[in-house]
Structure formats: structure tokens, C-alpha cells
């Protein structure tokens, strides 16, 4: 590892070198904004066209898990920001501590996501041949609240009356749900890999007030992933909760 914060020949100062790295990361994030933007656009168009199916689909998501995950992810952004601060003021042990905390919270987020995905498999809500929005309300599983389920059945029946093709339109919602949260999760997994690399570096004491560019730019990436979730949570989980 030669990148120890030495000044490269084509820069005049270390600050200029760091600013260049930060700017490069931001330009990458611009492409990410447009990449996710396209998915949000597809979501917007389909949600307007198939609002009944999207409302029913959204209501099958667990709001407690979603809101809990939002808190976990914002907390991980705080610990990431604190890791940057620790490096800037030269507290080497705190850098490791905050990076490990960020990785831990990120892992919790992914674990909760896995639980949610499993639930959708169990409820026949994976786009494909066995997709059926009526399946779960009519097939109670262990631990289900039967009263809640009866309400859900009533809701689904009403929706079928409004939109007879709801099992096709519902697949659009769940395709977007899995596409968007899946890509978000992929970004988290990449972020976790970058954090492991940073943690290794922090154990070697590489990050100092003079040189902390990797922590700073991985931080930018991590916060960006947090921002994507800040939009995903209300758009996917909270469409049709008022009734």
C-alpha cells in the first residue's frame, strides 16, 4: 500500500490533492444520482398509473421494520461522520471504533432486509408464476394477527373490484420494490466491503489529521446510500397508510 498521503508530483499541495479526490467522488455520486433517479422515475410513472395496486403492495410492507431500519441507517451515517472527525483530530482508536460501529449498523440493516424479503417469499409476493395478492390474507401463517388479516382481505377484495388486473399491476410494484431495495442493498454490501478495508487501515494507524482521504470519500459514498434510503422509505412503505 503506497497511498500513505505522500504528495504526488502533479499536485501542488496536499489540500489540492485531497480536494481532487473528493471532487472525483462527487462526480461518481452524480452518476449514481441519475442512476437511482431513473428507477425513481419508473416508480413514479407506474405508481400514478396503478395507484390501487401500489397502495395494496405498499401496505403489505412492515412499517416497524422499515422505520427501524431508517433509524439504524441514519445512526450509521452519524457514526461514519464521527469516524471522519476522529481521523481529522487524530484519535486513531476512535476511528476504528466508529468504523466498526458503522459496519455493525450496516449489517443490522441488511439482516432486517433479509427478514423482510423472506416474508415476501412466504406470502407469495415475489413477481412470477405464484404471485398472488390474495394468498396471504386467505392463508394465515403462524404468528399472524387474524383480525388484521381479515381487514387486509377486505382491503384486497375492494382493490380487486377497482382494478381486476391487480395481480399483474401488483407485480410491477414488487418488481420495483425488489429492484430498488435490492440495488440499495447491493450498494450497502459494497459499502461494507469498503468499510472492512478502512477498518484494516485504521488498525494499522493509517488515518491521521494529515491524511484521511479514504475515510472522507467512503463516508461520502455511505451518506449517499443513506440519502437513497431516505427517499425509498416513504415512497415504498408509506404510500397508502392513511385510511
Amino acid at each position: 500500500m503506497h497511498r500513505t498521503g505522500d504528495l504526488y508530483g502533479h499536485f501542488q499541495t496536499l489540500e489540492q490533492q485531497k480536494e481532487t479526490a473528493t471532487l472525483g467522488m462527487w462526480i461518481f455520486l452524480v452518476t449514481e444520482v441519475l442512476f437511482f433517479g431513473g428507477m425513481f422515475l419508473a416508480y413514479t410513472i407506474n405508481r400514478t398509473a396503478f395507484s390501487t395496486a401500489f397502495g395494496i403492495g405498499s401496505n403489505t410492507l412492515d412499517i416497524k421494520l422499515g422505520a427501524g431500519n431508517t433509524v439504524v441507517l441514519i445512526m450509521s451515517s452519524l457514526t461514519m461522520a464521527m469516524a471522519v472527525w476522529s481521523a481529522q483530530v487524530g484519535k486513531k482508536k476512535l476511528v476504528s471504533f466508529f468504523l466498526i460501529a458503522t459496519l455493525g449498523l450496516g449489517t443490522v440493516f441488511l439482516g432486517v432486509k433479509a427478514v423482510e424479503y423472506k416474508q415476501k417469499f412466504d406470502h407469495h409476493l415475489i413477481p412470477g408464476r405464484s404471485f398472488d395478492m390474495k394468498y396471504h390474507p386467505t392463508h394465515p401463517m403462524a404468528g399472524d394477527d387474524l383480525k388484521e388479516l381479515a381487514l387486509e382481505k377486505e382491503e384486497v377484495d375492494k382493490a380487486f373490484a377497482v382494478d381486476p388486473d391487480i395481480n399483474f399491476h401488483g407485480q410491477l410494484y414488487f418488481s420495483l420494490y425488489f429492484g430498488m431495495t435490492g440495488l440499495h442493498a447491493l450498494h450497502m454490501i459494497i459499502g461494507a466491503g469498503l468499510l472492512l478495508w478502512l477498518i484494516k487501515g485504521s488498525f494499522a494507524g493509517r488515518f491521521t489529521p494529515q491524511y484521511n482521504t479514504p475515510v472522507e470519500i467512503v463516508g461520502l459514498y455511505w451518506h449517499f446510500v443513506d440519502i437513497v434510503w431516505i427517499y425509498l422509505f416513504p415512497l415504498l412503505y408509506l404510500i397508502d397508510r392513511h385510511r
Binding site: E15, K18, E19, T22, L23, W26, I27, L29, V30, V33, L34, G37, G38, F40, L41, T44, I45, T48, A49, F50, S51, A53, I63, A67, T70, V71, I74, M75, S77, L78, M80, A81, M82, W85, Q88, V162, D163, P164, D165, I166, F168, H169, Q171, E216, G219, L220, H223, F224, D226, I227, I230, Y231, F233, P234, L235, L238, I239, R241, H242, R243
Partner: protein, 113 residues
């Protein structure tokens, strides 16, 4: 230009604001504001995102050049959203019954496999 170090106090204040924003989002989702529910949700999400960009991502203390790049990303996103949506809202396409003011073409067979 020397590096600006954001203090932990600011980070914690921003974190608290983000938590509050999350709480308000969940609360607002259960209120019936009719078509304004989505507006409310997006406004809060945008405020939260702005706080993250300005403070966690240090945009407020970045160089003018970096800030320009950030503004550009929002601008280009706006172009993509605006132009695509003007097309979709003025052209007939597959919708559920009763949603669009435009004719609903018989394209639902596309979804039947």
C-alpha cells in the same frame, strides 16, 4: 484553504433533526392530506437529504467547484424527471381503470403470460 473540521455537536444535532424528520414522515403518512400526502413526504425527505449533504457530506464547507458539481447533479436529475414526465402525462399508456384522463388502450394482455 485549510480543512474545515465539523464538530461532533453539529453531527449530533443533525442526527437529531434527521430522527425528528423520520418521526414526522411516519406520523404524516397516517394523516389524510389527500393528494398532498406525497408532497409532504417528499418535502420532508428532501429536507433530510439536504441536511445530510450539507453537514454529513460537508458540502457547506466544500469548495465552490464541488458545490457546483452537486448542484449540477440535481439540475440534471430535474431535466430527466421533467422531460420524461411531460411525455408520460400527455401520452396515453396502460393504466388501471379510472386513473388517467386519457384513453386506456387495450394493452393489459401484455401482462398476461
Amino acid at each position: 484553504m485549510s480543512e474545515h473540521i465539523v464538530s461532533p455537536k453539529i453531527y449530533i444535532a443533525i442526527f437529531a433533526a434527521l430522527m425528528l424528520g423520520t418521526g414526522i414522515t411516519v406520523w404524516a403518512a397516517f394523516q389524510n392530506f389527500h393528494q398532498f400526502n406525497i408532497v409532504f413526504a417528499l418535502v420532508i425527505a428532501t429536507i433530510k437529504a439536504t441536511l445530510v449533504v450539507l453537514y454529513f457530506m460537508h458540502a457547506r464547507y466544500s469548495s465552490k467547484r464541488t458545490q457546483l458539481v452537486i448542484v449540477c447533479s440535481v439540475f440534471w436529475l430535474a431535466i430527466m424527471l421533467a422531460l420524461t414526465l411531460t411525455d408520460y402525462t400527455t401520452r396515453s399508456h396502460e393504466t388501471q381503470p379510472g386513473v388517467s384522463h386519457l384513453a386506456r388502450p387495450a394493452a393489459s394482455h401484455l401482462f398476461r403470460v
